[in-house]
Amino acid sequence: MEKYVCTICGYVYDPKQGDPDSGIDPGTAFEDLPDDYECPVCGASKEEFEKEE
């Protein structure tokens, strides 16, 4: 599972960690995040994330 970076603020979504504060369990792939998932740091939408190089 790959990490994704928020292009607005640089937050990295790591599927291993998930995003428990936003109700996302560890082990959740970026692709499986809900459509309305938002960057926990800056509020950017899912479309504004890019795969980490």
Binding site: I8, C9, V41, C42, G43, A44
Partner: protein, 397 residues
Amino acid sequence: MEVVEIAKNIYNVGVNDWNIRDFHGYSTNQGTSYNAFLIVDDKIALLDTVKKEFSDRLIENISQVVDPKTIDYVISNHTEMDHSGGLPRVMHKIGENKPLYCSKMGAKHLARHFHQKWNYRAVGTGDELSLGKRTLTFLETRMIHWPDSMFTYLKEDKILFSSDGFGQHYAGNEMFDDQIGEEIMTHAKKYYANILLLYSPLIKNLLQKVTDLGLEIDVICPDHGIIWRKDPGKIINAYAKWANQETEEKAVVIYDTMWKSTEIMAKAITEGIANENVSVRPIHLRRVHRSEIMTDVLDARAVVIGSPTLNNQLFPTVSDILTYMKGLKPKNKIGAAFGSFGWSGESVQLINKELDAMEFDIIDPGLRIQYVPDKDGKDECFEFGKRIGKAVKGEST
């Protein structure tokens, strides 16, 4: 600061902070202002507040125009406390239940600052708020320069309330660009270099977005410093240039020194660069504030760093400027390192590591001299400076 009507029924009710000299580590040698704007229409709106300790002054200023209790809406373009610090006092005065408009992140972040259950109304780009004859349109500007940041545009008057964007830390009796002249650009440049530089890619996108939206802008009202009414295009064009990180044929030689040996090197390097007819400034780290230094770095093509080796490390002030600079993400730079040392001499290698981390084009392995430079050593520094000067001009060395 006097209350000034900047357009019909629109007032700057902010305050000057004349004597602040250290703004969270940024040297504000002419103070700053916290601008807040009152729009009196069928509904009355207050855009942003001031730093907490100026809350009473803000209320007094508002009272010169209207009874504060008659304010209908508060708009918070930015959560940072120099603009939100007055909110508790304002909300208490006007009524805790009055709607407080801010971005979604603004609502979260204001709650984490003030721990109040205010009547947050989260808005996004394109959302409008009618004041009667006038309409406010919100434009989110995430990470320019906080996650919550937004602009508010008043279409009938073509005024952009730009939060920290286009601002300058400057306190004066002038309120408009036409009253002050060129001097203000130095403050605007310093603000960009120290607050916004790292967000340059986002600023480029924002400028494009403003163009695409076809926003007509007659006046830009930032939350710090003077208001751009004579020529708002001037500051927009300057931002476009800074966001592109365009450089001049210019070098800065930033150094510290213990027994003046690294300073002797800096002087000879500076002369070598100047000999190539490249503009150059030597900057002693303990005499010039880091925020002044970044202003010079902004449009410099070459950044040359000198440090003695102290206990196998960089001199602490050199670490300070490198850490600060790295965070601000300057681009399109040539880098080079130098330093005098006594026995181990790690400084040049340590500087190069940092220059490399910032993706500077390191044009030379760097110059180390043990103890005090002699004539040959100074000549070597001069030649090193010439190589840097040639590289600045794009000539092969």
